[in-house]
Symmetry: none
Subunit: 234 residues, 4 copies
């Protein structure tokens, strides 16, 4: 009988509901102001239930992080199966990341949650931690693979160490989205607004910059590729 299966699915649905409530709240108030009472209220769940599904606050945030890194790593993994040159893969992965954060800034915030986790936290209690790590490593490895492919197919300059280059692309694009999406809630130091810079244009320039940095002449970014910054789905 599918009874236990249905229950399982129901449980999964509720977990998802709680996660979504927490995501909303992170979006609205920031990760630092997330509190369990409000999550429970938003999810229309008792506090006891909340703790039934997530053993503590860290676990909950890591749950979001897990979801985020899982989605992102899947999207990124898809890129490498496509019929693209290495440099095109790199562009596409970058765009995938930038678009992902644009569409899910709350996920990006939860990913930054790692920064504040110290060894002393109750980290090891969470089953999500290793999954998050694994997801991020998958994404990173995919990037390394794309670079290696590009070096092999001649579209990427072989003078870099692939892993180091992947770290560079990873970290610089993190900085980019941080600028693009996190500052937009804060009224101070809005570089983009003040200088009338469009996010999409900035992303394209980033791609161009990177492209000139790593591509061989064959691999320079083309106008065609610019469309990778799809406009936000509503």
């Amino acid at each position: 009988m599918g009874t236990s299966e249905r229950k399982e699915r129901e449980k999964e649905r509720k977990k998802e509901l709680i996660l979504e409530s927490a995501e909303q709240l992170i979006l609205e108030k920031g990760l630092d102001h997330l509190n369990m009472d409000e999550v429970a209220e938003r999810a229309e769940v008792s506090k006891g239930s909340l703790y039934h599904y997530f053993k503590n606050k860290t676990d909950l945030v890591l749950g979001i992080c897990n979801k985020a890194t899982g989605m992102l790593s899947q999207e990124i993994a898809k890129v490498i199966t496509r019929d693209l040159s290495g440099i095109e893969m790199v562009y596409t992965i970058g765009a995938t990341f930038l678009n992902f954060v644009r569409d899910h800034p709350e996920f990006f915030r939860s990913m930054r949650f790692f920064d504040n986790l110290k060894e002393t936290s109750q980290l090891d209690d969470s089953e999500y931690i290793s999954s998050c790590q694994s997801n991020m490593e998958t994404s990173f490895t995919t990037m390394v693979r794309a670079i290696q492919i590009g070096m092999q197919d001649g579209s990427i300059n072989s003078s870099y160490d692939p892993k180091e280059l992947a770290v560079l692309l990873w970290s610089t694009s993190q900085g980019l989205v941080n600028m693009a999406y996190l500052h937009q809630n804060t009224p101070h130091f809005q570089l983009l607004e003040k200088n009338q810079i469009e996010v999409t244009g900035m992303f394209e320039s980033y791609m161009k910059l990177i492209g000139q940095g790593i591509a061989t002449e064959d691999g320079e970014i083309t106008d065609d590729l610019k469309s990778i910054f799809e406009t936000e789905k509503d």
Copy 2:
């Protein structure tokens, strides 16, 4: 009489003492775990005094931020007075920033404090807020100037918008140092350690990457410039 002047200086000294204590604590425990009791204790100052000098916690952190942005903008401003080509200025400004964060990670953390500031905060109460903004704008403008100089002297590719390029360099280098210095306290997802990547080497590669991205052939990074990542002063 110099009495009031001496008092003023004494007050400044105490403020500085408090700031330094807070900086130490941020370094040790992270911004999120900074608390006013410990600041007072570390500074050997009563809590009353603490609140006499800084009207609230936000004000204190902005005080640090102000100090940080002030120091940084001064160092950056110095670069533009030197006899360098535009591209060399850009490299040097980047290195200045990277070195600054390496030597003062606690300052960088306080600068990231902006991310968590909402309109609802008691931001407007702090006299530091405008000073911080002004410092950061100064730094940013200096970067724009360096780029413009480079475009003018032919060392930088003119196909970018100077401001947009400055934003790119600003944000990507933020991402870089974030990766380099903030993750090192956390046991999870240590990309650098796992892939045996040296911070200094990564910075050099970043420079090279950027260089190839923006420099004309004349401006490509030379071995001489690599020495800009001075080793940490003890």
Copy 3:
């Protein structure tokens, strides 16, 4: 038909299983940290079932207490049927108690549960309460009987009130085992360890002390009786 009988036996078996799980947990974590979730988990029983068999936590603990007092009173009752002088019975009852607690410290802890029971508790709901009381009274009465026998057969000094003496022996031996077995989990104030006192030796001295206190000259403890502190069964 034996169906209902089998059901009854099955029910008893499950109750016993739950009790044993709770006993284990008390042994491991102490009575104060016993919680119903863990009992259910340990017994591999759902919480619903747990509450089916025991109407509340107090009832469960009283169930253990009932089992403990039942076992103890039975063992004690056996003594009085043996061919012993009164003073020997007293010695043997004492030893029975001391050995019982040594072998079942978790039972002793549950017996101390009475201390925390207030009138306000849902005591009256438990069917065990009267059974516990009855068991303890049986034990106590047996002790009184042994004393009376000793007074009658001339082995115990008649100058005491039998009941009062029984209370004395009861309470002092409680204090003794408390010292012997409960402190051993706690790192503080370990009188025995610090003074290198062996539990068995202490029990013998207790018997000697009591013996000299209550026995007539004929009834002083003999070396033969010392073997009553059997070594723990494995």
Copy 4:
């Protein structure tokens, strides 16, 4: 100026006030039902203040324990300075303890708090723990001294090991007061009431029992000594 001194005294007074409130509550509701909110309310102090004076609940209870063991050890220490024979000292120390618990049952409960302290608790945070230990060791040592004096002056039977005997007296008298004072709040298994046993009489019988156990013929308890169980001060 005595300003800081007065403040110090004021602080001590408030600490004492909080301790007294907690003692009352322990007396009324038992140690297990003590909660910090009520302590704060009873002491007419905010919760924040409560935690200003005692770093956590364990610390508070240990504070009471410290007071209790301090008072008791002082009273006991006084005995040894009196012009008494060893056996009389032992009787008097016993009586001191029994009277102390009768007058301060809440203190006795806090002393039993040690039983529930596991290594895992935040024990080491409390400055009281070592003081409690030291107080209890002082009391214990005083008892050992009294016994040694008695053995030397011929009033106590030399066939016991002094330390072991002290442990015996310590633990059995603990059992006695446990019976006498802690069960009196609970409606179940009231051995004393049911058998119409007077506490004072029981204490005297205990003394007699011990006396016959350990005293030489010279040291048997006299009627004069019976007055050591003074009636409760109102």
